[in-house]
Symmetry: C2
């Protein structure tokens, strides 16, 4: 089965202790789509400006991603410039130019409305909710968010969460949203708002998958010696997770845990090079191989 | 087989967001001993002052810990007072009074010199080395250290590491010592100094066990909703690890990974109450049960 993702499509400039890249393909919907494309057909919905390189759209199309939901609007594409120090878990935004993304109003085509799996990447929760309402019969819905929406659109976010199956957010966001420093307590707070499952991402500390009434699953990150750029790791995680879920349709605890591991593996590929370069380079057999490596470094 | 530990024995005062305790039993040798006593006979070597409550020594003795290596010196016992905020990974020292621990010169009895398993808790590396030289035929040696010794006794620490099988330290110490922000690179630096194995503790981020030429093993922490006091978690980890190793004698990768898990489990019991209270309360069946829970929260 296929998956719908609504989110940003961007042109990024990134600097890390390991190098510097200008005008690379970026945005949550892009990382998610490329990652999920290893498992399923992905339908991204997003907007770019007239400056957006056509080659980037072709790159996505070549991966079997349905690019018909990428709207080309007047003006420039959303641009983000950021920098990371040696603590790669912490991005410092240098500049953000929303450009045509400022007035983004997701346009769903008839085929989008019939999709069973939905990922609402980090955009205004009012838009996330609007999109979700247009999907006829979503089987499994995940969403992301960020500190800005938690602080400024809390009510909209709460309305959205009532309809979401799994809320994917990072540890700082979970603490901010719940007012709890303990992550299991933070997850329980989120359960009280609707979602039955929470995934709390902890950067290189891995992730925590908590299911209401079922306890938690802890998935360490796949640690590596060479990490070049952490941008997009979270969305690549979500792409691996939702991609695997939409491939198998298995919503059991066991199935979802396996999906968390695939998310972890896809995030590990993402951070190995700048932008989505490595995700665009690897083959399905690399994913299988790394899953084996991951088992080896976590089994006892 | 039995295990020797040399380290501090202290009287602690601790404050965390979950409460406050004065004059509780503390010190690295204590946490290590109580934790390891679930698996083996432990021989702590340390010093206390004449003010040290005899009941504390009885408590240890009742657990089968050989208390003959606890020297009672003139003056007061080492005292530490500390505080934790909501980030329980970060202790803030309020006061340290070394007292009789200042002139600590570990005295090994004949039975200590014959012990095969040795844990050198965090003390001056010159003393750690002196102790180790007195042990006739150590089969497996682990040591801990801290930022102070890394900065001020680096050469002594390097001399010690030549004779150590596993260096157990936390992530900040590993980064400081190696000058590498990446933890796998930090472990490789440590390999270059002698030890074939490194355990990097990451607080509630779990631990990383790296074996030279064999790659790494990642053990997430056992996350819990209620954590009262993280003091002693690292030494309880080391106690579970070395206790299990000395019980099984299994130095294979598989055996040591299992020991890391027992370390993780013992640390999780430690943090559930102030001081070593919970470690002193639990039964062997609680350890077995939690190992099962740990498998459940990490398996996929």
């Amino acid at each position: 089965m296929s998956v719908l993702v609504v989110g940003s499509i961007a042109i990024d400039s990134v600097e890390t202790p390991y190098g510097k890249r200008k005008k690379v393909l970026g945005g949550s919907a892009v990382y998610f789509s490329v990652s999920a494309s290893f498992f399923t057909t992905v339908y991204p919905v997003g907007v770019v400006g007239t400056d957006f390189p056509r080659t980037y759209i072709s790159l996505l199309g070549q991966r079997g991603i349905d690019v018909n939901g990428i709207e080309i609007a007047r003006g420039k594409t959303f641009r983000w410039a950021g920098k990371y120090g040696y603590d790669l878990n912490q991005a410092q935004t240098i500049s953000t130019a929303l450009n045509c993304f400022r007035d983004f109003s997701p346009k769903l085509r008839p085929e989008h409305r019939r999709l069973p799996y939905v990922f609402l990447a980090n955009i205004d929760p009012n838009l996330q909710l609007m999109v979700l309402k247009k999907v006829a019969a979503p089987r499994f819905v995940a969403c992301d968010s960020m500190n800005y929406w938690i602080q400024h659109e809390r009510k909209a976010l709460a309305r959205l969460l009532k309809r979401v199956d799994v809320f994917i957010l990072n540890d700082a966001e979970a603490r901010l949203f719940s007012g709890e420093s303990n992550l299991i307590k933070a997850a329980k707070y989120i359960f009280s708002l609707g979602p039955e499952r929470v995934i709390i991402k902890r950067g290189d500390g891995g992730s925590l998958f908590v299911t209401s009434g079922q306890g938690c699953f802890i998935a360490p990150a796949y640690l590596m010696e060479e990490i070049k750029d952490p941008t997009g790791a979270g969305d690549s995680f979500a792409g691996g997770f939702m991609g695997f879920v939409s491939k198998t349709g298995d919503l059991s605890e066991r199935g979802l845990r396996k999906a968390v591991i695939y998310g972890t593996v896809m995030a590990s590929f993402c951070v190995q090079d700048f932008g989505p370069d490595n995700l665009l380079k690897i083959k399905p057999r690399d994913v299988t191989r790394r899953l084996g490596d991951y088992r080896r470094i976590t089994c006892f």
